[in-house]
């Protein structure tokens, strides 16, 4: 066995993406002795999971899964993490890839202790992308409360280079002259765990999402409910901070639609059911209506759905919402046809949550790196070439499935590197 380890090209594994899938694949590979590089575009690890309030179906906070993985990474010397880094170029072939990566300047070095003095001094604001623009941060900011690595970062587009943060930083942690860094990694296989983006709901023109602040996406709902979110975990209507008395969950907002995403995004039904539990915790009497084509709660998730059977204030309407009208009071009226009764339903609610689906993040970049992709932009693994897809880069999936197929991806990556 040891001979195989020393075979030519028996290099490390590059994991592209530091979300739950990338972390899982990296740890599984590293913990059996493989050298692993994690490249992550964001200044923090954890990906989409970090943005959730809770996981389904156990409803624990995402920090419980992520913290363990972060600890494993800290304790594992075989893993090297490159945040704020993107893959620029891939050359070579199976067993021996040369990957050029580029790290964007963070402008904050390892001296940062997270004391927050810089934020207090900073005069510039930026839209908080972690919270989907629901609030703002300063131009120098902490990515989020549980960020790992716990280091601040400067948004170069928002920063006016006034230098006030440099003045107040007691630890010389801020380097305004930091430049992008490029390097080439020698690896034998690549795990693409590039994850997903929420489908841009502004493309759903018939739902007129820009017409009202009462129309939000399911990921915005996660942030509204999360303790570290823009409202400190209180679900309030963006814009006027009203405590909503009624909610509409609009399923398949862009999914199962050949004009948008033609596939089922798999998680949205469960995500909406989960979000009903958020609503119930805060507003026990709020009226909730779920508009769906099919309520897809596969396998054991069926039990989760049964939780709402006896809740008299939760209604399920079979029929896709195809029109939303903004009302003067800040609410909206959602319009669907109840396909069971055949009547048109006009439900006026304080908050409408669009269950937008998953769009593979590698959609446009994948082809550049010579990846095989299906028509929807999901990456098709080619284990023979050492190009392996994991998590939601492979298919729309929940966290459990992502962790499973990422473990499988780790094994394939190890095999590819020992051939």
């Amino acid at each position: 066995m040891t001979d195989e380890r020393s075979a030519p090209g028996a290099g490390g594994v590059l994991v592209v993406g530091g979300g739950i899938s990338g972390l899982t694949a990296a740890l599984e590979a590293a913990e059996v002795g493989q050298d692993v590089f994690i490249v992550e575009r964001n200044p923090y690890l954890g990906g989409r999971v970090a943005q959730l309030n809770k996981y389904f179906p156990k409803l624990c906070p995402p920090s419980c899964g992520l913290e363990i993985n972060f600890k494993r990474i800290k304790n594992n010397r075989r893993i090297r993490v490159y945040p704020m880094t993107e893959v620029k170029q891939v050359s070579g072939s199976a067993g021996s890839y040369q990957v050029t990566i580029e790290t964007a300047p963070r402008f904050v070095n390892n001296n940062c202790t997270g004391c927050n003095a810089c934020v207090e001094a900073c005069p510039e604001d930026r839209s908080n992308t972690f919270n989907f623009g629901l609030d703002t941060t300063k131009a120098i900011y902490k990515p989020h409360d549980h960020a790992f690595p716990m280091k601040y970062v400067i948004d170069a587009d928002a920063c006016n280079k006034c230098g006030k943060c440099v003045e107040v930083c007691k630890y010389d942690a801020i380097e305004m002259d930091m430049a992008p860094k490029s390097m080439t990694l020698e690896v034998s296989s690549i795990v693409w765990a590039t994850g997903w983006n929420p489908y841009d709901f502004n493309k759903l023109e018939n739902l007129k999402p820009e017409s009202s602040k009462a129309i939000i996406s399911n990921m915005m709902m996660e942030r509204l409910a999360a303790p570290g979110g823009p409202t400190g975990g209180k679900i309030l209507r963006p814009g006027d901070n009203k405590e909503p008395e009624s909610f509409a969950f609009i399923q398949c907002a862009g999914s199962r639609d050949e004009n948008h995403l033609e596939y089922c995004s798999y998680i949205c039904c469960m995500a909406s059911l989960k979000q009903i539990t958020y609503v119930r915790e805060q507003y026990p009497e709020a009226k909730v209506t779920v508009f769906y084509i099919d309520l897809r709660t596969p396998g054991k998730y069926e039990n989760f759905r049964d939780r709402f059977k006896d809740d008299g204030n939760v209604h399920f309407v079979k029929g896709k919402v195809a029109d939303i009208v903004a009302n003067d009071d800040g609410g909206v009226t959602v319009i669907a046809e109840n396909a069971v009764t055949g009547d048109k339903v006009r439900e006026t609610v304080d908050l409408a949550v669009l269950a937008t689906g998953m769009e593979p993040a590698a959609k446009s970049a994948g082809a550049v790196h010579g990846l095989t992709m299906d028509d929807n932009g999901f990456i098709i693994s080619d284990a023979g070439r050492g190009m392996i897809a994991a998590g939601c880069a492979k298919k729309a999936a929940d966290v459990v499935t992502s962790a499973q197929n990422s473990t499988a991806a780790a094994l394939q990556a190890i095999q590819a590197s020992r051939r």
Binding site: C252, E258, I293, V321, A322, D323, E337, G342, D343, K344
Partner: protein, 405 residues
């Protein structure tokens, strides 16, 4: 769903729909987007979602007795927003095509006129009738340019000295009056069957029925006004441009109808006393001006309809069906040969003028004789479906106060 419902699909019906442009219907997964984006659908039992599942299940009897299939103007909004490419607009169009054949009287002729394979027969029938009558009429020769200048097509079927009824008029009447009368009767029979089936389907709670006056004033008249103003057509979203073709076409038909009647009165009634009225109507006559304007409007309208239909097929993948193109072909032929015959007559080329005039008569015959079975039938079926919609929403069907209360 306490009691099971046995669905008995009519497979031939499904096959017909697939051929008539409804081949996408099985893709529908009942998300009901269509019923919401449809600009013409009402809040009460909207369409076309329910029609889509009835079509998938082959529930022919339910569909042909459903006024909603006729109320659809195929705006195409449903098709544009359909997440599955099931094209509800096209499916409803195919159902309408089926309904015209289903209610068509006599059914043999209705079936004949609904299948593209029968096109040669459909053309040959009027060619033989009109051609034979032309041959035996005594007018079967090409006139010289001078005769054409003075009498126009007035001696197409020959000439006799009987002053009260010109020979040409006698022949034209002998061909077209029975044809139109038959067509009107057939349309009446078809619409009557449709109305009865629709009444049976809504099963009015009240035993009372509207009077003839109520029917005309409250249901039919407002429907006709709506049609003339294109009120619903204008509400269409995706294929809004279709109004630009249909409106000039409809108005040109009305104008040409008026001009035809004017020509009849002028030439064949006033002409009895004043023989000078027999010849072609001079170009400066207001009615002739109207006729020529209408002819241009007809041709422009048809060009727009043609272009729209082609674009629909290319861009939205709508089916290229006999149902749609037969009517376009008929009206284009009527327009081109009618206007062409007039121009060639004025240019003084009798042989070509006579040829075009002959084709014109044939195409006019086809247009009206086959009207109750082709897409042209929407003229009557949709009008009465719109009247039925008013009846359906009235107290006759939904009594404000029932006997039980």
């Amino acid at each position: 769903m306490a009691e099971g419902v046995r669905v008995e699909p009519d497979l031939n019906f499904i096959k017909f729909l697939k051929k008539a442009g409804g081949d996408s219907m099985k893709k529908c997964f009942q998300c009901a987007t269509c019923s919401v984006v449809c600009p013409l659908s009402s809040d009460n039992k909207p369409f076309p979602r329910k029609e889509m599942i009835w079509a998938q299940w082959g529930l022919k009897d339910k569909l042909v007795a459903d006024p909603d299939i006729m109320l659809c103007h195929q705006c195409g909004d449903c098709t544009a927003y359909c997440p599955r490419g099931a094209k509800p607009g096209d499916v409803l169009g195919a159902i309408r095509a089926y309904a015209y054949t289903h209610y068509g009287f006599p059914s043999g002729l209705a079936k004949l006129a609904s299948n593209g394979r029968n096109l040669p027969i459909l053309i040959l029938l009027p060619v033989i009738i009109i051609g034979l009558l032309w041959l035996i009429s005594g007018g079967a020769h090409i006139p010289d340019a001078e005769t054409m200048r003075t009498v126009g097509f007035g001696h197409f079927f020959g000439h006799w000295e009987f002053p009260w009824l010109a020979k040409n008029v006698a022949f034209i009447d002998a061909i077209f009056l029975p044809a139109v009368a038959f067509s009107v009767f057939a349309a009446y029979k078809g619409v009557k069957s449709m109305w009865d089936a629709m009444v049976e389907q809504v099963a009015p709670e009240s035993d009372f029925r509207p009077s003839a006056r109520q029917f005309l004033v409250d249901y039919l008249y407002p429907s006709v006004v709506e049609i003339l103003t294109h009120k619903r057509f204008n509400e269409c979203g995706a294929n809004k441009d279709r109004v630009k073709g249909h409106l000039p076409l409809l108005l040109s038909f009305i104008a040409l109808f008026a001009v035809t009647n004017y020509g009849f009165i002028r030439k064949d009634i006033i002409g009895i006393f004043n023989p000078a009225m027999h010849g072609p109507i001079p170009l400066y006559d207001p009615f002739k001006i109207l006729a020529n304007v209408a002819a241009v409007a007809l041709l422009v309208g048809m060009a727009i309809i043609w272009a729209n239909r082609s674009r629909l097929e290319e861009e939205q993948g709508a089916g290229r069906t006999f149902y749609d193109w037969f009517l376009i072909g008929e009206i284009v032929t009527v327009g081109v040969t009618g206007f062409g015959a007039e121009i060639v007559r004025l240019l003084g080329i009798p042989s070509l003028a006579y040829f075009l005039y002959f084709i014109h008569l044939v195409s006019v015959f086809m247009l009206f004789f086959y009207m109750p079975y082709t897409k042209f039938a929407h003229m009557v079926y949709r009008t009465f479906a719109m009247a039925f919609e008013r009846f359906r929403d009235s107290n006759f069907v939904n009594p404000a106060v029932t006997d039980d209360e």
